[in-house]
Amino acid sequence: MGQTNDDPLTFYGERLDSRLLVGTSMYDSPAILADSVRASGAEVVTVSLRREAGGAQAGQSFWSLIKNLGVRVLPNTAGCRTVKEAVTTAEMAREVFETPWIKLEVIGEDDTLQPDVFGLVEAARILNREGFRVFPYTTEDLVVAEKLLGAGCEVLMPWGAPIGSGRGLNNPYGLRSLRAHFPGVPLVVDAGIGAPSHAAAAMEMGYDAILLNTAIAKAGDAVAMAHAFKLAVTAGREAFLAGPMEARDMASPSTPVFGRAFT
């Protein structure tokens, strides 16, 4: 159960055994990045495209490192603020990374990096038409979710909290509601996760996977934290499948009342 072969996760027909996806930014060194990805058990890592001067080698050596990890890549459109920027970046990423998968971000607000959901739906429609497999970074808004599905998305990635904030699940009610409304759609909590307990909580709600970056990369020991997240995601998934008990307002004794002494 959990992160084993009898409970696989499927994105666009592609089967994965790990329910943890990790970002590749902000690690102290390439070696720590590689060790953290291995410790996380992730089979998918996010990558980006950025400007680099001719003759520089940072991009090429990063790409060699990722290829050597043997993982699938999910390129992003991070930082794009318009539909045109996001679509062009996705097209560029498809050629370089040789995958139709794209984590679609259209950012609408600087302080929260909140998605521009109007631009997101429009860009998703264009990219799905062009044959991309779109993973939209969205909010927990039900109407936006419906429109993204209508635009051809088969996976949704609602935020837990603003990117890099580590606040966890800001709106558990909204996330629960989204899960309940779209029971057959793979849902990934992407962004805002700060601790393994946040990841476990989302998985216990029935989310299919977790995508995070900063919480591992900026931990005191990134490799150890990557492993902690692996365990938390597995635990949360197994707990969801096991069926957590309903919370109640009043106490209920766990030790049998019958046979109690001094009565």
Binding site: G23, T24, S25, M26, Y27, L33, T46, V47, S48, L49, R50, R51, E52, A53, G54, G55, A56, Q57, A58, G59, Q60, F62, W63, I66, P75, N76, A78, K84, E85, T88, E91, M92, A93, E95, V96, F97, I163, G164, N213, T214
Partner: protein
């Protein structure tokens, strides 16, 4: 001819995108290109003429979240 490459104004001799990449020392590096915010496939670079004032993006793989 002056064009903007990755946000910087450059004086270049190249007249097509493939020649520009060579002139700017990208060599065999894995790059993705766009001209005036429109994606240009690798195989189309040699046929893609560049003009004064064009905005060229030359991007490489990088860490991402």
């Amino acid at each position: 001819m002056k064009v903007r490459v990755n946000g910087e104004t450059r004086e270049v001799r190249a007249t097509n995108l493939a020649a520009l990449i060579a002139e700017l020392d990208y060599g065999e590096a894995l790059v993705a290109t766009a001209r005036n915010q429109t994606f240009v496939r690798g195989k189309d670079r040699a046929q893609t003429q560049i003009a004064e004032g064009d905005e060229i993006e030359i991007l490489t793989p990088r860490q991402g979240g």
